[in-house]
């Protein structure tokens, strides 16, 4: 009688061995393979069950992040796992407070705005050139909804993974962090968990208390976070997206845009 291995007794994967199933290209028009299916049906989950994620699953997700590719195998990231519901609740209040302060500063239509309309327009016209990514209408709407309580922060997720980037990393450390994060997100979805990228978490850096509690110190910077938990219902599924124009340059030199 052999007992199946548990999280404590399982041996690590044998180094140098290949995948357990020989991978082959699909026939034209064949259905999506399991990896494609996880990628294509992954939806951001914003409604979590009040049920903890077992430690071994979180560790498995972190392993997927650990083996992400990075420039020069530099691995310029650091992960912080927060599973304390009290701390997550306090962090949520902090992020919402900062969303309210920023909304009052830049959004003249926000209730109780600190700035007159002309000043807000000036700020917007200046910042839209200096930091266009931060002034994008979609992000500003999210900030306002966060401030008004219409949008949650971690949406009741029992586990939050903070993604920190090493500012001394080679190449593009933020890109490497994103690749590691997507590895973890897809791994979570492949296990029936749900995940959501929450970059409003960066407001936590403004607080000495959370910098201390989360261990955010130079050379690390908090960039984004992943909410991970058990989804309510079945949020993963195929949806429609715009097709994207892609320039193809063929072997005979012909060029054309395909969507």
């Amino acid at each position: 009688v052999t007992t199946p291995p548990t999280a404590e007794t399982a041996a690590p994967a044998a180094v140098g061995t290949g995948p357990t199933v020989r991978r082959r290209p699909p026939e034209p028009g064949a259905p999506h393979n399991p990896v494609e299916e996880v990628i294509l049906t992954r939806r951001s989950v914003r409604n979590f069950r009040d049920r903890p994620v077992p430690e071994y699953l979180v560790r498995r997700i972190l392993e997927a992040g650990r083996f992400a590719p990075s420039a020069g195998n530099n691995q310029s990231w650091r992960f912080v796992v927060v599973r304390d519901p009290r701390l997550i609740a306090e962090m949520t209040v902090h992020v919402q407070t900062w969303a309210q302060r920023l909304s009052k500063l830049i959004d003249p239509t926000y209730p109780g705005a600190w700035v007159p309309r002309w000043w807000a327009r000036l700020l917007q016209r200046l910042f839209v050139r200096l930091v266009p990514a931060s002034m994008h209408p979609t992000g500003l709407a999210g900030l306002g909804q966060l401030a008004l309580g219409e949008l949650g922060v971690w949406h009741g997720a029992p586990t939050v993974i903070m993604l920190l980037s090493d500012t001394r990393g080679t190449g593009k450390p933020l890109l490497d962090l994103g690749i590691a994060g997507q590895n973890m997100s897809l791994t979570a979805h492949s296990m029936g968990l749900g995940s959501c990228w929450v970059s409003f978490a960066m407001f936590l850096q403004l607080s000495p208390r959370f910098r201390r509690e989360l261990g955010i110190a130079r050379p690390y910077k908090l960039i984004t976070s992943l909410a991970i938990g058990w989804p309510v219902g079945q949020p993963d599924g195929y949806v429609e997206r715009e097709t994207q124009e892609v320039l193809w340059i063929e072997d005979d030199g012909t060029r054309g845009v395909r969507t």
């Binding site: 034209p28 028009g29 064949a30 259905p31 999506h32 294509l40 049906t41 939806r43 951001s44 989950v45 914003r46 409604n47 909304s103 959004d107 003249p108 239509t109 926000y110 309309r117 807000a120 327009r121 917007q124 016209r125 839209v128 266009p132 002034m135 994008h136 209408p137 979609t138 500003l140 709407a141 999210g142 900030l143 306002g144 909804q145 401030a147 008004l148 219409e150 949008l151 309510v232 219902g233 079945q234 949020p235 993963d236 599924g237 195929y238 949806v239 429609e240 997206r241 715009e242 097709t243 994207q244 124009e245 320039l247 054309g256 845009v257 395909r258 969507t259």
Partner: protein, 123 residues
């Protein structure tokens, strides 16, 4: 509506569009920098199929959906901040929701190089 499959050349951002200032819209709720002609996403809800479970209202990241009745979901007001992410489409058990229009910006944030909506295709 936003480009088609046989575009010969990507439509890059023109200099004139770069200069165009975003405009703050007067409307209740969070303000948005949008230039006239920008359109937010749009979803259509099949009222007959809707069971009134409110899942779509819970998961919408843009607070775009609200209950119009016991078994009826609609988009809020005359300016819904829908980003056409499809989370409501995927979470809807009776498949009553469909994205009918993608997000499209004009001016500085002009959306370029996008074709019509499509589900993941098999090649």
């Amino acid at each position: 509506m936003n480009g088609d499959a046989t575009v010969a050349r990507p439509r890059y951002l023109r200099f004139r569009e770069l200069l165009r200032m975003p405009r703050v819209l007067d409307r209740p709720g969070p303000s948005q920098l949008v230039v006239d002609g920008s359109t937010m996403g749009r979803v259509e809800v099949d009222a007959d199929a809707c069971t009134g479970c409110r899942m779509c209202v819970r998961v919408c990241p843009a607070a775009t959906l609200e209950m119009a009745g016991e078994h009826d979901v609609r988009m809020v007001g005359d300016f819904a901040a829908c980003i056409a992410c499809g989370d409501c489409v995927a979470v809807c058990a009776p498949d009553a929701i469909a994205i009918t229009r993608p997000l499209r910006y004009e001016g500085f944030y002009k959306t370029i190089g996008r074709g019509p909506l499509s589900a993941p295709r098999l090649f």
